[in-house]
């Protein structure tokens, strides 16, 4: 294709996108001459260039559109119909351009239909002539306006300080080929080039300001710089190994220059995200009229820059999501008014930087996701069973949106439901190492939050070793590093095949890189003295156990060879300073491969349910005590697992004691028939609170499993809460409280005698599950609270109405009949709480629920199994001194 023509096509495509945006703006602000001037100039440029290149069909169409716009310039009212017509003409121009790009010539046919219509409207709008342009002072004839008008406008608009080239009718030929000003620069504020616009075509070259460079050239440059970075790293490495060298200073300089060059080239590839948003105002306008909804598009942070490669990849997902907001999210004006909202719905697009990432949010203030409808659809599509969806939290239900082939519109409209779903959006985003999340509040709107990396080419990575091999872990997913050592601050605990690390009262699952990669295992001693890379993938936090941590380095990511990229654990390769190749670990892959303990979502998907139900899942510690059948206790209750020498256990007065952490700890057998081993190491589960510890003697610690907490059979014997099927075996869920009282008789009884201890803050614990009431009562009692438990919101309200005073109320959120939110509302409505804090307790930790709890006036929100946080929160909300005073 002719180079001139190619340049024309690129330039015109950009100009037309700009026209779309400006026209929509113009419709909203018909009085803004500046906007009109811009549109006029852009269309005029297209027309002029077409004429020059002999593209008759395009020229005629552009001319007719220009004529109509001329009428607006001379004061005619810009009616929505007229704007729609111009937009239609622009669309037709785009079609012709597309054909032109393919074939190299204009397609056959004419556009008389559109042209006639444009002229008709031009005459029609010019008739009223109520506002004759004062500078013109005469009637306008269609077709005559542009030239005069334009030149007049040029003369009358004040010029910028920079020199403006004189009109050069002869220079049009080179104009399109030579320049041009990027559309961003040509936006309203930069009307400067427009001023010098010459009726017959091109724009003036503001030499040296911007030049058009092929994307290939930039990509090639980027590759070269990547290689340069590698070579520099190699040189630095060599000199470092040799020690003092005369190369030192010049290498230092090379180092700086390379770094700056790298930054500079990266910058050339950066584009403001607004470039991906440019088509959206037009889209929203069209959607608004198609759907009969009033929609306002608000954008924030359009100048946030990101790599153009990333930008290209998110363009389509963004468009899709805006479409979704307009179609599914926002209500009709009537519905909105009925719901007490303003007629106009708002779609808000925002972009900002956050820790090496760009966050893009697409939010609407519509009806929010329809949980019931999604549930129905999920069941209808076979994504889950009815029983499943009933148990799911709203957040879990929301995630179905991302399931393949899912569309929520009750009727598939022409606007959405075109086969591209949120699953594709998610896949596209994840492809570039990003993540998608969803928030929705019924009646208030929903938001999709996308997190994308700044660039794909160079990442900062942590170098680690396993079995003598070096691997890179992208820094983005690394939270912190922990060194473990026998007898040190951090110790790896092991249960069954599972390794765990207790870090600031969180119990993190560990995965050993050596095991994961099938490398040789370390001997037992060395395996204790290792580094743990605490990583986060989505909401999952886990530790990757490595032999050693070397340093961090900026690495250039090279793709995996095609025959190796089925290995999900690696995301690519890179060449180090010394020339060796190392593999880059993919934290997503590691999390997935690490199994259900660290990546429950993956496990849920494998099970065919396709949703994330981690909220209901509790890690259980399985052990054997007395009988062959396994017993279980929620892992969160257990403080430590210990192996102690049987010799050190002392028996006094029928009680067993052991020296433990500078004190004597009583030991209690965990069930009948549990006997101490005759020699060697005795496994213990240690429970500690407020400086007191109890050791539960067990025969064997089996494993840790993730289990959905349901007690199927009620308790029949003391010390057992009930039976649940765990990993295919009927398992007794042990009543920890029972054993704690065996060790310290007063551990529980304090609740029974509140009058004697009324210096302690009183807690009202509302939970429908007897399991949780039984579990939390001893925990809170041990922490120094007087606990009164209620099995339902109704029961709790009765207690409050009876005048029982409590310092703080702790309530479960998910309860039948009256849920935690309703209970809290009732308490406040009846004035029963009198400024007493109410704390929400829930197994749902989705952000939306937390947010709702805040909105509903809960003082704090704690996950059910987060015992230390619960205690800490209670101590803040109801400090002991308050009651004592």
């Amino acid at each position: 294709m002719d180079e001139l023509l190619r340049d024309f096509l690129t330039e015109t495509a950009e100009n037309l996108d700009q026209v779309d945006v400006e026209l929509v703006r113009f419709e909203q602000e018909p009085a803004n001459d500046k906007i009109l001037g811009n549109i006029f100039r852009l269309v005029h440029t297209v027309k002029g260039t077409c004429g020059f290149l002999g593209l008759g069909r395009l020229e005629a169409l552009a001319h007719a559109a220009e004529t109509l716009m001329g009428e607006f310039r001379s004061g005619a009212m810009a009616t929505p119909d007229a704007v729609t017509l111009i937009l239609a003409a622009i669309d037709r121009i785009k079609e012709i351009l597309a054909d032109l790009e393919k074939a190299g010539t204009e397609p056959a046919g004419d556009d008389l239909d559109l042209i006639a219509e444009l002229e008709r409207v031009a005459i029609e709008v010019s008739k009223p002539k109520t506002a004759v342009d004062p500078t013109l002072g005469r009637e306008l004839r269609p077709g005559e306006v542009p030239l005069d008008e334009l030149e007049r406008a040029f003369r009358e608009t004040p010029g910028p300080d920079i020199a403006i080239a004189a009109p050069r009718p002869a220079a049009v030929a080179e104009a399109p080929a030579l320049k041009l000003v990027e559309p961003e620069a040509a936006k309203p504020a930069a009307a400067a080039p427009a001023l010098a616009d010459e009726p017959r075509g091109g724009e003036v070259t503001l030499a040296g300001q911007t030049i058009r460079v092929g994307v290939d050239t930039l990509d090639r440059l980027m590759n070269m710089v990547s290689e340069l970075v590698l070579t520099r790293n190699q040189l630095l490495d060599t000199v470092r190994r040799r020690g003092e060298s005369e190369f030192g200073p010049s290498l230092q300089r090379l180092n700086h220059v390379t770094a700056e060059l790298q930054e500079g080239v990266m910058k050339t590839r950066m584009q403001p995200i607004g470039a991906a948003w440019r088509a959206l105002p037009r889209l929203v306008r069209d959607l608004s009229s198609d759907l009969g909804k009033k929609i306002e598009l608000v954008t924030e942070g359009a100048d946030t820059e990101l790599d153009r490669q990333v930008l290209d990849l998110i363009k389509d997902p963004l468009t899709h999501m805006v479409r979704n907001c307009a179609d599914h999210g926002l209500e009709t004006p009537a519905e909105r008014v009925a719901a007490g909202k303003s007629e106009t719905g708002v779609i808000r697009l925002s972009a900002y930087h956050q820790g090496g990432c760009i966050i893009v949010e697409i939010a609407d203030d519509g009806r929010g996701l329809d949980v019931e409808r999604i549930k129905k659809k999920a069941v209808a599509n076979g994504l889950a069973t009815e029983a499943d969806v009933e148990k799911m939290s709203d957040a879990q239900v929301h995630r179905f949106i991302f399931a393949p082939g899912f569309s929520t519109a009750a009727a598939v409209t022409s606007v959405s439901g075109r086969g591209v779903g949120m699953d594709v959006v998610r896949a596209n985003i994840e492809l570039i190492g990003g993540a998608v999340d969803l928030r929705s509040t019924a009646g208030k709107g929903s938001a999709v939050v996308i997190r994308i990396p700044l660039t794909l080419a160079i990442v900062s990575a942590l170098m680690v070793t396993a079995d003598g091999e070096t691997f890179a872990i992208p820094q983005l997913s690394v939270l912190e590093l922990v060194r473990t050592r026998r007898g040190g601050d951090h110790v790896i605990e092991r249960i069954g095949d599972t390794s765990l690390l207790r870090l600031r009262d969180r119990l993190l699952p560990l995965v050993r890189l050596r095991d994961l990669l099938g490398l040789a295992t370390q001997d037992a001693d060395a395996a204790e003295d290792v580094f743990v890379v605490i990583s986060q993938v989505g909401d999952d936090i886990f530790g990757i156990v490595v032999d050693d941590v070397l340093h961090t380095e900026e690495i250039v990511v090279k793709p995996m060879a095609s025959r190796l990229n089925h290995i999900a654990l690696f995301s690519g390769t890179t060449i180090l300073g010394d020339g060796s190749v190392i593999l880059i670990l993919d934290p997503n892959g590691v999390a997935a491969a690490a199994g259900p303990a660290t990546h429950r979502e993956a496990a849920a998907e494998e099970a065919g349910s396709g949703f994330d139900d981690r909220a209901d899942i509790v890690p259980l510690l399985l052990f054997r005590a007395g009988s062959a059948a396994p017993k279980a206790v929620p892992l969160a209750l257990v403080t430590r697992l210990e192996m102690i020498e049987v010799d050190t256990i002392e028996a006094t007065g029928g009680r067993m004691l052991v020296q433990y952490r500078g004190g004597l700890m009583p030991l209690v057998p965990a069930g009948e028939g549990v006997a101490l081993k005759s020699a060697g190491a005795q496994p213990l589960l240690v429970f500690s609170d407020e400086g007191r510890s109890v050791g539960l003697v067990v025969d064997e610690i089996i494993d840790i499993v993730d289990h959905r907490m349901e007690i199927t059979i009620g308790s029949i014997s003391a010390g057992v809460l009930g039976t649940s099927v765990v990993a295919g075996h009927a398992t007794e869920i042990v009543d920890v409280a029972y054993y704690l009282t065996l060790a310290f008789e007063d551990w529980l009884r304090r609740t029974d005698r509140p009058s004697e201890r009324n210096d302690q803050p009183a807690v009202l614990l509302v939970d429908d599950s007897s399991f949780f009431r039984n579990m939390l009562t001893p925990v809170l009692t041990a922490a120094g609270f007087r606990v009164t438990a209620a099995a339902s919101g109704g029961e709790a309200l009765r207690l409050l109405r009876d005048g029982r005073g409590f310092d703080v109320i702790v309530t479960d959120i998910e309860m039948p009949e009256m849920d935690g939110f309703a209970f809290a509302a009732a308490v406040r409505a009846e004035g029963l709480a009198a400024h007493r804090p109410i704390l929400a307790l829930s197994s749902l930790t989705a952000e939306s629920v937390v947010e709702r709890a805040r909105e509903e006036g809960f003082s704090d929100y704690v996950a059910k199994f987060d015992r230390p946080r619960l205690v800490a929160s209670l101590e803040t909300l109801a400090p002991r001194w308050r009651s004592a005073a």
């Binding site: 091999e469 090279k558 025959r563 190796l564 020339g579 060796s580 190749v581 593999l583």
Partner: protein, 150 residues
């Protein structure tokens, strides 16, 4: 091209068997240095290496032919080939002479040839005292063929 035009082969030896690789397919012959093994990869992938800034995937021809893996040291030789835009290296026991042979002398694969060897050979040349199998590079490096053989 007439059947009498000579075709130039780079000869290599794998487990005592002579193979000829069409010189047009050979990018370079080099000694393996610093091979990085790739955990969890198929057995015939010996690892990846850096060859002047390109990442090359090395295939152990012994494993490819169903034999035990080669012990790799810095003297181990490899033949670099390109396949579908990616750089590959075929690890061999020894690189021999370059021979120009005419296509008319070429013979079909003997029916008795071990199927794993037959799978990667496109013909045979009789040389003085030994047979040279013509290596079908496409099949030798194709992951689908690899999967079948495994």
């Amino acid at each position: 091209m007439s059947a009498d035009d000579p075709i130039t082969y780079v000869t290599v030896e794998v487990a005592g068997q002579l193979f000829g690789i069409n010189i047009g397919r050979v990018r370079e012959v080099f000694a393996l240095e610093r091979l990085t093994r790739v955990p969890l990869s198929p057995a015939e992938i010996a690892g990846v290496l850096n060859l002047r800034g390109r990442i090359v995937t090395a295939i152990d021809m012994r494993v490819r032919l169903g034999l035990s893996p080669k012990t790799i040291d810095e003297h181990t030789m490899a033949v670099g080939v390109d396949h579908k835009g990616e750089a590959l290296a075929l690890i061999v026991d020894r690189v021999g002479d370059v021979l120009a042979l005419t296509a008319s002398d070429r013979e079909a694969k003997p029916a008795t040839l071990d199927p794993r060897w037959a799978a990667v050979a496109e013909g045979v040349h009789r040389l003085d005292g030994q047979l040279m199998l013509i290596l079908d590079v496409e099949r030798a490096v194709d992951s689908a063929t690899l999967a079948q053989a495994a």
